[in-house]
Structure formats: structure tokens, C-alpha cells
Subunit: 158 residues, 3 copies
């Protein structure tokens, strides 16, 4: 299996769409970027580098992803903020069965009402993406973040 131009374009489109979904605050659409049994994790780099299992957030299966969104939109009290994802180039390698390993640096800038924009989170994605005829979906997405200390709580997905 090789990383063709067509695959590169499919993956580039996926990441651009993923970022704009979150940045627009269309959180209800977010689980649709994942397969039914996908695993979404947010992990501090210190833990990830040492192979430690502790995650800031760990959601297994689309139902848990939807539940998280329900929580964000209906039960958690928090000051609203804007997110903006600035993503770097993709590093792609081909695995088996149409699954590609993708790595991508991210910077998430947060803006609160009447405040200056600030760096909210910085790190990289370690992802597995299933590319089918018609769909391009995350089977695993690990958000490894450098900054243990974040300016506030992590509410929205990264």
C-alpha cells in the first residue's frame, strides 16, 4: 500500500475539515469524523513519551464521543471561548488494510470575549485513519500536548 497523491489529498481535506468543524463550534458533527469503535485520547507529552496510560481525556467508541459533546453543550458550566487550530504539514505512512498513520503538529489558539488571543494548547496528533472508497475516518486519534499547564480547563475537543 502506498501513499498516493489521491490519499494525500483525502487526508489533507480531512484535517482541514476537522479543524474547521471544531473552530466553528459545530460540535455535534465532531463524532462523525470517527469510526464506530474509534479511540480518542488527549495525553500529556510527558506521559506519552514514557508509555504511561494516564490520559487527560479518553473516549472509546462513538457513543462516548457523543456523550462528551452532550456534556459540553448541556451540562458543563463554563465561560465560552473560541478555538482556532493551526495545523502543520502531515507526515503520512501506510499501514495495512487501508489504514494510514498520520502525524501532524497542532497549535490551538484560544480567544475569550474581550481578551487577547493566547496559546491554549500545542502538540501533535498521532492518528490512524481508515481511507475507504467514500469515507475518511479516524480509528484512533491521540492528541499529545506539550504544555502540562494550560490556561484553564480543557472543555472542547482538540
Amino acid at each position: 500500500m502506498t501513499v498516493t497523491t489521491a490519499v494525500r489529498e483525502r487526508l489533507a481535506d480531512l484535517y482541514a475539515a476537522y479543524a474547521s468543524c471544531l473552530d466553528d463550534g459545530r460540535f455535534g458533527e465532531w463524532p462523525e469524523f470517527f469510526t464506530e469503535d474509534a479511540w480518542y485520547r488527549v495525553v500529556p507529552r510527558e506521559n506519552y513519551d514514557q508509555g504511561l496510560p494516564l490520559s487527560t481525556l479518553s473516549l472509546k467508541g462513538k457513543a462516548m464521543l457523543k456523550d462528551r459533546i452532550y456534556g459540553i453543550e448541556s451540562t458543563i458550566f463554563h465561560a465560552p471561548y473560541y478555538q482556532r487550530h493551526i495545523l502543520g504539514p502531515l507526515q503520512i505512512s501506510a499501514g495495512a488494510d487501508g489504514v494510514f498513520d498520520v502525524r501532524c503538529n497542532f497549535l490551538v489558539v484560544r480567544t475569550k470575549r474581550d481578551m487577547m488571543a493566547e496559546i491554549f494548547s500545542v502538540g501533535y496528533y498521532v492518528d490512524k485513519v481508515k481511507v475507504n472508497e467514500t469515507t475518511t475516518l479516524f480509528t484512533t486519534k491521540i492528541c499529545v500536548f506539550d504544555n502540562d499547564l494550560i490556561p484553564n480547563s480543557l472543555i472542547y475537543p482538540i
Copy 2:
């Protein structure tokens, strides 16, 4: 009309050239990225999301773009600063007549003489780009920015 690899490359080149034109401070070349009757706007996200027409800056037609540059270079008194555009991946969709809708996240970092670099503006472009045989030009460029509060005046184009 489809988004071919050739179109993607043309658009990628356009955005890279646009950023380096502004970051180099070659402002005289900036209007050349636009069609004669192009519309350039800088709009706070809060207004844009509600469909409100108020813009921080709104320039219609290349003559107004040139006038703005004349203002920047010859009449406005301001402390000089460097800009650096960090752009994310492009989200492209095909419209009619060779015009493509393009969306792209941006982060503009500003550096003033003997100061630390700081986030100046963060948001996304909502653009329409006309792709011809030989030219690739913006017909509309809307710079939607998240941060209502900017560290100082907006002088140079985003």
C-alpha cells in the same frame, strides 16, 4: 468542475505567495493578488457569525486597495512592526465559472523592534478565487478574526 491536483497546487502557491508578500512588507504588490472589482474585508467573528455587515476594514475594487497601501506607506504615522503569517491547510470547494471557495485558518504573529513576538490576529479567510489559464486571483477575501481585542491598531493588511 472538480478540485484537481493542478488546482490545489495553484491555490497552495497563491496562499504561500500572498503570505510572503505581506510578511516581506512588499505592500505595493499586494493589490496584484486581486481582480479589478475584488472585495477585501476584515470582519470580527462576532459580526460575521451573525451576518452583520459592519467591517473593521472594507475595500471594494483594486483602486481602493491601492489607496489603502498609499495610506499605509505615506500618510499614517505608526510604529513599524513585522508580520508573520502562519497558514493552515486549505479547504477548497468548487463553485461556477472557475471560481473556487477557499477557507484557510491564519495566525498572524507581530514583532515590534526590541519586543517579544506576540499573537496579533487569529482567525480564518473566507475567500473566492478565480483560477484562469495564467492567473489565480482573489475576487473576494474576508478575513474573519476571533480576537476583538488586538494588541494595537491594524495597519498592514492581514
Copy 3:
């Protein structure tokens, strides 16, 4: 010589791999991105724009690059920090003999243990890249940075 899709992909892969090598802290692999007689420089924008030769760092030949890494890992005392490179789109033009001129904006975010992430360096690469059958290597890499004032010493390569 033209900038084919294949060349674009080779260069995109190079920059993604370069960033993740440095961000992972795999400094021993860093010299392998360069040809034997490559020249690596880090230059303030103010000097670069005026054609002044003074560099913050200037390393000629792979042996000097390796020596720098030896210094970083074995002799310089410094507080460790994480780096994260966020790179913009590439601006590519073809030179002679399989060497391409590439320009690319960069933002390097630094995170120190138990501190907030901060902008460490921002600027652009002015590179020459030799593309062979099997290798893609920098023959020149100039890191031009906007911010004269950096939050601390420059230890790791940019």
C-alpha cells in the same frame, strides 16, 4: 526543470520529517537532513534584510552540525524545554541541477516544565534542497527570525 507534484510531495515530506525530528528531540538525526558540505545559519531578519553577514549561528559542513549536537547534548548546561514547529505552506522554485529553492514560514513554540507555552521564535526558512533519486537533503538552510528578543538562549536547532 519544473516543480512537479512528485517534487512537491518529496519536499512536503522533508519539512514534516524535519519538524518532527527536532520536536521529538531526536537531535542525533538532525545532521542527516543535510548534505556533507551544507551550510546552516540562524540570522536575525534585520541583518538578513540588509545583507549583513552576522549570524546568531553559522555551521558549515555536516561535521560542524554534529559538533553542535554534541555540544547541546553533552557540554551545554541549560534547562530542558520542548519545541514545537508549526510550519506554513511551501513556496518552491526550481533552480539548476535538481536543487530547489524553498521558502517556508515557521513558528516555534517553546514549553518549559510547569510553565505556559510561549512563542519562542518566528520567521521563515530560506532553503536550498537537493532532490535526488533517493534522497532529499538541505544544501543550505537559513533560519531568518523576526524576533531579535527571544525569551532565553537558543539551544536547540530551529
